[in-house]
């Protein structure tokens, strides 16, 4: 079939329809006239000739309609006219339209907003080329105790990186990296910035070209080479105003001059983390041991290589690594056999998405259910409307309108409704995203950058279409089958024959109640979880009046460790002197702070361990007064004193669970001794403190060893003083968080050393709140969804009952006239609502008990089948059903029987 004429006709029919119409009209008219003339020529009188011609033609409008139906693009015209008709209908019923459009807008908008986040976070989290080749080098090490953590596995050591990257056969490139902080000085105000220290292979793996300048070269990674640095886009903009001539300038980073060689583009992040500076790691190949295991590894697979192949490849290299390196003379390099190190590589995407996915999927399905409830509500409204239009539809069917035509008209109406809802929904989604960006958990990466893109708009469109098809098809299915027979039937109007019609509405209400129940159960479980988390004693008190800030002292600024501790001590004293400060102390980390915890092997005197090696324990360095500032209770013994610290006395404080595990009771622990390695001096336990949930309120408190803020470094052969160079200060004051207070803190620190920047200035409440963030976010989302579901179901029940009342006005009148009690009448309607709700609750309970299993990971201290929740929520729904049906029931019982009977 030739395409060109078809397109030409299509365009003409569509855009010059008036011309086409008048041509058609003239053609038929002239045909009629020619027929008449023919008849006259055949000898008919003019009037009869015309009549005969009309009979032969068979009706001008019918012929024209038949021609129109074959015209190409005709359907567009009829759909457009259906749309116009739909809009007219909506204008006539503004109340209905507003309710329907708003319900849809919220349903669709919520879905678009959440889809947007899911799309950005879960489906396309990695903005790197061919990101499916990217692998997180995750090592399992079941024998390594706490060192192989739940969130990172066993991290890599530089020697592992060298062996793996030199000898592997499955990777194109491989690198290790770690996060850090650095002080940038030599400018107006010293500033602490976020750094990523990266080995060779990282940039080659991520494959993102720099915006300016170049990547680090192999010679930049030479530990003896001149120092270089790369900037993030954000830091470049913030610090240098996006100066294009920045390449080649130098920056003082931790008192070291570094040359700026490149700037990374705007959307570049180190896997899922923001940073300010990239610093070359400069791994020294000639000076490595087996340990330390503190680096994240990423790699790019060769095309076609699988994760299983990569695992096998590296598994082969683990013994090679142990043979190639040692931890020093006299140590057994195959000691790590007991750790049972085995590669268990993940795709980088899986690693990044991690635990946020369960939250997002729960939220996504929740808003999906809300939309379903909204759609059933609208389907119900449409059914009611179609009911009131039944006569019209039947008459039209009788007059020859095809079923398809009526069905299309009903569908077009629904589509117009849902697409309008979709358009408004985009606005709702936009507002929703702003809200998510403000309230979403920090684990949602790139939320601030998320905007409504083409894919989200496409999703919204599809969602609108499917919603329209869904709720539109229900009335179509019911009414397009209307036959002429129904016309006669429906003239009985308000007779009680509406039972069959009522049934489909009842079904929708049952479905609605069931879905609302699932939502409410989920929301209630989250509320219980939140309450449980709030009840947990975290190991510190009143986080709102606890100010924290971090100060790092690089060895380029102060090299003598003793002087570092003295500086930290005098900072603490200066801060304590500020009016309103009760206590000021410091530690290497405060609870729930991000950053990798420290682990040491700790052996208890007189105890023998399986495999000869004591397990790894978490440790922290603390100054005197730290527990007092935090509000962590001393259970037995005493705190450190500054005399202990400066005297380098071999002392230690342990957590209560460590004391109970090792010696049975806190009191028994005092005076006992622990040590790190077999050849190291024993340290005496002088105090036992309350357990602290350092990993977050929902994680168990680990046993913790507290070392004094300064001690003899156990790793060096000759005793040298060591202590944490980066310390978080804990300051107890009612003024915590106030701007003027922070300014005073700044002055206090700078009165000791004006080169030290203050970082991470926040109250403990912020840190604590963040650990509850995921729960509170899920809670808020589910609570919103649950209350929307509840509200929509109340509206649904109300609608169905009040429609039933209006349909049965006559019956009610008769009943009242025959002396029915008003209370009985009311109860009749309330009872039917309760029956519907009861059925919905029964279905919902079954569905909910299955669905909540998916929420297990989000719950804390409450079973997914929590009996209180499963009793309370149905009661709430029953009460709602009663409330929703009570109003129409009252209206029914207060009818005047005479009026009711006369309304026919």
């Amino acid at each position: 079939m030739p395409l060109l004429p078809i397109i030409r006709s299509f365009v003409r029919n569509l855009f010059r329809s008036r011309q086409v119409e008048s041509d058609l009209d003239e053609e038929i008219r002239s045909h009629l006239e020619m027929l008449t003339e023919e008849n006259i020529r055949a000898g008919m009188p003019p009037e009869e000739a015309q009549r005969a011609a009309r009979i032969e033609l068979g009706g001008m409008d019918q012929v024209k309609e038949q021609v129109r139906e074959v015209q190409i693009g005709n359907w567009i015209h009829s759909v457009l006219s259906d749309c116009r008709f739909a809009f007219r209908q909506f204008r006539k019923h503004p109340g209905f339209t507003a309710v329907a459009v708003l319900t849809l807008a919220f349903g669709i908008g919520a879905n678009s907003a959440v889809f947007n986040v899911v799309d950005g976070v879960l489906l396309h989290p990695l903005p790197y080329p061919e990101s499916d080749q990217l692998v997180a080098l995750w090592l399992d090490a079941p024998g390594a105790g706490g060192l192989a953590s739940f969130s990172t596995g066993l991290q890599l050591s530089p020697s592992m990186y060298i062996t793996f990257s030199d000898h592997n056969e499955t990777f194109q490139s491989m690198g290790i990296w770690t996060s850090g902080r650095a002080n940038v000085t030599g400018v107006a105000q010293p500033e602490e910035v976020r750094t990523k220290v990266i080995s060779d292979g990282i940039l080659q793996t991520l494959q993102v070209a720099p915006l300016l300048g170049r990547w680090f070269s192999a010679s930049d990674q030479d530990p003896r080479a001149s120092k270089s640095i790369m900037l993030s886009y954000g830091y470049w903009q913030r610090r240098f105003g996006g100066d294009p001539g920045i390449i080649g300038r130098t920056l003082q980073v931790d008192a070291q001059s570094r040359e700026i060689v490149g700037v990374m583009p705007r959307d570049f992040r180190m896997v899922d983390q923001d940073f300010d500076l990239l610093i070359p790691m400069g791994v020294d190949r000639n000076n490595q041991k087996l340990a330390p295991f503190g680096y994240d590894g990423i790699a790019r697979l060769k095309p076609g290589a699988s994760l299983a192949q990569a695992n096998a490849d590296i598994a082969r290299l683990v013994p090679v690594w142990m043979d190639s390196w040692s931890n020093g003379p006299g140590t057994n390099p195959h000691y790590y056999d007991v750790w049972r190190i085995a590669p268990n590589f993940h795709s980088l995407k899986q690693q990044v998405v991690g635990n946020i996915s369960s939250v997002l999927w729960v939220v996504m399905s929740t808003v999906g259910v809300v939309l379903l409830i909204a759609c059933t509500n609208i389907a119900n409204l449409l059914l009611v409307r179609a009911d009131s239009r039944q006569q019209e539809l039947c008459v039209r069917a009788a007059l020859g309108s095809s079923r398809g035509r009526i069905a299309r008209e009903l569908l077009v109406e629904s589509m117009v409704l849902s697409l309008t809802g979709g358009v408004v929904g985009v606005a709702v989604a936009y507002a929703g995203l702003r809200l998510l960006a403000a309230a979403g958990p920090a684990g949602l990466p790139r939320l601030s950058e998320i905007s409504l893109d083409a894919r989200s708009l496409g999703f919204t469109f599809l969602l609108s279409v499917f919603s329209g098809l869904f709720f539109g098809s229900i009335p179509v299915w019911k009414y397009a089958r209307a036959s002429a027979f129904r016309v006669i039937h429906s003239t009985e109007r308000t007779a009680t024959t509406g039972r069959a019609r009522q049934q489909s509405r009842n079904l929708l209400v049952v479905a609605q109640v069931a879905m609302a129940l699932v939502l409410l159960v989920s929301a209630a479980l989250m509320i219980r979880t939140f309450a449980n988390l709030r009840k947990v004693e975290p190991g510190f008190w009143n986080p709102g009046s606890l100010q924290t800030l971090r100060i790092s002292i690089p060895d380029t600024a102060i090299s003598d460790p003793l002087l570092v501790t003295r500086t930290q001590h005098s900072i603490a004293e200066q801060i304590a002197a500020i009016p309103g400060v009760t206590t000021a102390a410091f530690a290497s980390a405060v609870p729930m702070e991000d950053g990798d915890p420290n682990w040491d092997q700790i052996g208890v005197e007189g105890k023998s361990y399986e495999g000869g090696e004591p397990p790894l324990r978490m440790f922290n360095y603390i100054s005197p007064g730290y527990f007092q500032a935090m509000g962590t209770r001393m259970i037995a013994g005493r705190d450190f004193t500054w005399a202990d610290i400066y005297g380098l006395r071999p002392m230690v404080i342990v957590s209560e669970n460590f004391a109970r595990e090792s010696w049975g009771s806190p009191a028994a622990a005092i005076g006992k001794r622990v040590r790190q390695f077999s050849n190291m001096p024993w340290q005496e336990v002088i105090g036992v403190v309350q357990d602290v949930r350092v990993h977050g309120v929902d994680k168990d408190a680990p046993p913790i060893i507290y070392w004094p803020a300064m001690l003899n470094d156990p790793y060096t052969t000759k005793p040298t003083i060591d202590g944490p160079r980066s310390a978080t200060f804990a300051i107890r004051s009612d003024r915590a968080g106030e701007q003027s207070f922070i300014a005073q803190l700044q002055r206090a620190v700078w009165s000791v050393n004006s080169d030290l920047p203050l970082a991470s200035i926040r109250t403990m409440q912020e840190i604590y709140g963040r650990s509850l963030e995921r729960t509170s976010f899920t809670l808020v989302m589910l609570a919103i969804a649950g209350s929307m579901g509840l509200a929509l179901s109340i509206i649904g029940i109300y609608g169905v009952i009040s429609y039933a009342v209006s349909q049965r006005t006559r019956e009610i009148g008769i009943r009242l006239a025959l002396g029915a009690q008003k209370r009985e009448l009311r109860w009749m309607f309330v009872r039917s609502a309760l029956a519907l709700a009861g059925l919905g609750i029964a279905v919902g309970l079954i569905a909910a008990s299955a669905m909540v299993q998916f929420m297990k990971a989000l719950l804390f201290g409450v079973s997914p089948l929590d009996p209180w929740t499963f009793i309370a929520v149905p009661l709430v729904l029953l009460a709602a059903a009663m409330l929703a049906s009570h109003l129409p029931a009252r209206r029914a019982s207060s009818l005047d029987p005479m009026m009711a009977l006369r309304c026919e």
Partner: protein, 110 residues
């Protein structure tokens, strides 16, 4: 109405219209009368079938239309065969010949 006879009928009508235009351009009534004539009055094409068919065939490019004056000086829409229409006519003729031969053979069989 089941689809199968419709196609056959439609095909037949198309063929007859195309055939009627071989002798030269005609308006709707002319085509209708010509078909009556060449089929010996067997087929009487009603306007309700004729005009939709004409418009459809015009859109398919088999015939083209133009406005002209009728015998009685009345403005009328005329149709003429296009090249594509000619080809279509040949194809249809072949198809129809084959069918009618086959049907005739089938009816002759005992």
């Amino acid at each position: 109405m089941a689809p199968e006879p419709t196609t056959l009928l439609q095909g037949t009508l198309d063929l007859l219209i195309l055939k009627s235009l071989v002798a030269g351009e005609k308006h709707g009534l002319g085509i209708s009368r010509r078909i009556e004539q060449i089929t010996g009055g067997t087929f009487q094409v009603k306007p309700g079938s004729l005009f939709p068919a004409l418009h459809r065939m015009e859109e398919e490019g088999w015939i083209s239309a133009f406005w002209g004056d009728s015998e009685n000086n009345r403005r009328a829409k005329y149709y003429r065969l296009t090249k594509a229409g000619q080809k279509q006519l040949e194809a249809e003729t072949q198809r129809w010949t084959r069918i009618s031969w086959a049907i005739a053979r089938a009816l002759e069989a005992s």
